[in-house]
C-alpha cells in the first residue's frame, strides 16, 4: 500500500513535468501543425542558463529560474524567427518545418557539446530533497511535491492566459484556423512569437526540474520524446490532452518501476504509444487529422 501511494505521487510528479513540456509542444503543434523537435533544445537551454546563473553568479534559485525562463523563451522565439518563419512564408508544406526542427535540435545540442562540453553537470542542491510524509500515508521527497505544485501553477497560469486575455483568445482562434485569425486583424507573426515564447518558458521549467532530478547534459532534451508520446496519447494539439497524457505516462512509468522493474519503464512508454496509435490514433482528446508528425 505504501509503495502504491508513493509511486502514485512520484508518477504525478514526473507526469506533471512531462505535462509542462508536452503542453508547449502541443501548443506549437496546434498553431503551426508540425511537431517541433527542437522543443527539447529549449529545455536544455533553460537548464544550462539556470546552472550557470547558480554556479557563476551564486544567485538564488528564483533569479536563476527567471533567467532560465526568459532565456529559453527568447531562444524559442529566435529559432522560430530564423529557422521556421522563412519556410512558413514560402510554403504551406509543414514537413519542411519538421525537418528544420530536427536540424535545430541537432544544432542546439551540439552548441552545448562544443561550448560547455558533454559532461554531466549536477545542479547545486537548490531544490530541497528532504523526505516528506504525505498525510501519514506515504513518504516522498519535498522535491516531488514541489515539482508537482510548480507544474500545476504554470499550467493554471497558462489556462488563465488562454481563456482570459485578448492574445489568449487569438491563440485559441489560431489553433482552429491561423489564416482566418490573420484576417481578423491579428498580427500572425507576433502571435506565433508569443506561442513560442510561452512554449520555451514552460520547457525551461521542465528543464530545471529534470536537471535537478537527474543531471544536466546536452542530450537531456531527448526526454522530450516522452512528452511527445504523452502529447500523442492525449491527442496532438489538445492542451488538456497533453496534460492528461503526461499524467498517464508518469503514473505508468512509476507504477512499472515500483511493481515490475525500472527496466520496463521505457518499454511501457512505447507500449502505450503503440496501443494509442492502434486503438485511437487521434488520441484521447484529439481531432482527427491525417498527419501526426
Amino acid at each position: 500500500m505504501d509503495t502504491l501511494f508513493q509511486q502514485i505521487i512520484n508518477g504525478l510528479s514526473i507526469g506533471s513535468v512531462y505535462a509542462l513540456i508536452a503542453v508547449g509542444y502541443s501548443l506549437v503543434y496546434s498553431i503551426l501543425l508540425f511537431s517541433n523537435f527542437a522543443h527539447g533544445g529549449f529545455l536544455v537551454i533553460g537548464g544550462y542558463i539556470c546552472y550557470y546563473i547558480l554556479v557563476m553568479a551564486h544567485a538564488n534559485i528564483w533569479v536563476a529560474s527567471a533567467g532560465a525562463l526568459a532565456g529559453a523563451g527568447v531562444s524559442a522565439v529566435l529559432v522560430e524567427r530564423f529557422a521556421y518563419r522563412p519556410i512558413r512564408e514560402r510554403t504551406h508544406v509543414t514537413l519542411y518545418m519538421l525537418i528544420a526542427s530536427m536540424g535545430m535540435s541537432i544544432v542546439i545540442e551540439n552548441l552545448f557539446v562544443v561550448t560547455v562540453g558533454g559532461r554531466y553537470k549536477a545542479l547545486p542542491e537548490v531544490i530541497p530533497m528532504t523526505p516528506v510524509s504525505v498525510f501519514g500515508f506515504a513518504t516522498t521527497s519535498a522535491f516531488d511535491i514541489l515539482s508537482l505544485v510548480t507544474a500545476v501553477v504554470f499550467l493554471v497560469a497558462l489556462q488563465l492566459f488562454l481563456s482570459k486575455t485578448k492574445w489568449g483568445l487569438a491563440i485559441r482562434a489560431a489553433s482552429y484556423n491561423l489564416r482566418v485569425t490573420g484576417l481578423m486583424g491579428v498580427n500572425v507573426n507576433r502571435l506565433i512569437a508569443i506561442v513560442f515564447f510561452v512554449a520555451g518558458m514552460l520547457a525551461a521549467v521542465g528543464g530545471i526540474f529534470l536537471s535537478a532530478r537527474y543531471t544536466l547534459f546536452p542530450q537531456l532534451g531527448g526526454i522530450t520524446t516522452k512528452a511527445f508520446v504523452a502529447a500523442v496519447i492525449g491527442g496532438l494539439g489538445s492542451l488538456p490532452g497533453a496534460v492528461v497524457g503526461s499524467l498517464i505516462l508518469g503514473l505508468a512509468e512509476m507504477l512499472t518501476t515500483g511493481f515490475l522493474s525500472s527496466q520496463f519503464r521505457d518499454l511501457i512508454v512505447f507500449f502505450l504509444l503503440i496501443a494509442t496509435l492502434i486503438v485511437r490514433p487521434s488520441g484521447l482528446f484529439g481531432r482527427s487529422v491525417g498527419e501526426k508528425v
Binding site: N177, L183, M184, V186, V188
Partner: protein
C-alpha cells in the same frame, strides 16, 4: 443607392491593374475597380474567374503581383492585420467562423484591432441589433449554429472591427434560397442604416445585381463588363451567360 453619378466623387476603395499569380497560373491579369463611399458594388463571374483571389489580394492574404490598391487615396499595406486596421474587413468564403469558440468570442476576435472596451461593447450592440439571433445564441459554440446563422456571425464578426469597407466573399454559398433572401435583406440594411460601403463577390449573379448599385463582371482574371446593376440585369449578354433561367 443614389442615381447621381458616383464618378464625380473620389473612390473609397480603388483597385488598379491588380495581378496575382499562383506559381505559373495567373489568376488576376490586371483587374481594376472602384468602390465609392456608401455604395454596394458586386463582382460577378463564374467559378475560377478570380473573384476570391481579388478579395484575398485586397486583404493581403495572397501576395499581390502587380498593380496597386488604395483606400481613401492611401496605398493599402501588404499584410492582413494592417489592412484590417486600415479599415477593410472580410467575411470570407465558406464563412470560416471559429467553430470551437462561442458566438461572443467570435465577435470579440473580430474586434481585435479595437482598443477601447466601450467601443467594442457599442459595436457588439450594433451587431446584435442587426442579427438578434446571434444575441440569443451568444454563449453557444459557433460550430453548433446553422449555416445561415454562421453566415450572420461571419458578417457580424467582420463588422466588429468597424471597417470603412466591408468585403463579402460568396455570402450565399451553400445556403437555402429562403436564408439567402434573408441574408441579402440584412446586407441592404447594413448598407442603409450603418452607411456601410460594401464590395461583394457572388456566383449568384441575380441576387448580387439586385442588391448592388454597380457591378463588374470578372472573366478569367480580367474585368470584361462594368455598369449599373439595373442595366446589367437587362443586358442580353449577362442574361445568357450568368442569369440563364436561374430564379435565385
Amino acid at each position: 443607392m443614389t442615381d447621381t453619378p458616383m464618378e464625380e466623387k473620389r473612390p473609397l476603395l480603388s483597385v488598379r491593374n491588380l495581378s496575382v499569380s499562383y506559381g505559373a497560373i495567373q489568376a488576376l491579369k490586371g483587374a481594376s475597380l472602384d468602390v465609392y463611399p456608401g455604395e454596394i458594388v458586386a463582382v460577378i463571374g463564374a467559378n475560377g474567374a478570380g473573384k476570391s483571389t481579388m478579395m484575398n489580394a485586397i486583404m493581403g492574404d495572397v501576395k499581390r503581383g502587380g498593380g496597386e490598391i488604395s483606400l481613401d487615396g492611401k496605398l493599402l499595406p501588404a499584410r492582413s492585420f494592417q489592412v484590417v486596421s486600415a479599415g477593410i474587413s472580410l467575411s470570407p468564403e465558406g464563412r470560416k467562423v471559429f467553430a470551437p469558440l462561442t458566438v461572443m468570442e467570435n465577435l470579440e476576435i473580430g474586434a481585435f484591432p479595437l482598443k477601447d472596451k466601450g467601443e467594442i461593447k457599442e459595436q457588439t450592440r450594433r451587431v446584435f441589433n442587426l442579427f438578434p439571433r446571434l444575441e440569443e445564441r451568444r454563449d453557444q459554440y459557433a460550430g453548433t449554429l446553422s449555416g445561415g446563422e454562421q453566415q450572420m456571425l461571419a458578417i457580424g464578426r467582420a463588422l466588429m472591427a468597424r471597417p470603412r469597407v466591408l468585403l463579402l466573399d460568396e455570402p450565399s454559398l451553400g445556403l437555402a434560397p429562403i436564408i439567402i433572401t434573408e441574408i441579402f435583406k440584412e446586407l441592404a440594411a447594413i448598407n442603409k442604416t450603418l452607411g456601410m460601403t460594401i464590395l461583394i463577390v457572388e456566383q449568384n449573379a441575380r441576387k448580387a445585381l439586385l442588391l448592388s448599385d454597380r457591378a463588374y463582371v470578372l472573366q478569367t482574371g480580367v474585368i470584361t463588363i462594368e455598369g449599373n446593376s439595373r442595366d446589367l440585369l437587362g443586358d442580353r449578354e449577362i442574361i445568357n451567360a450568368y442569369l440563364g433561367g436561374s430564379e435565385n
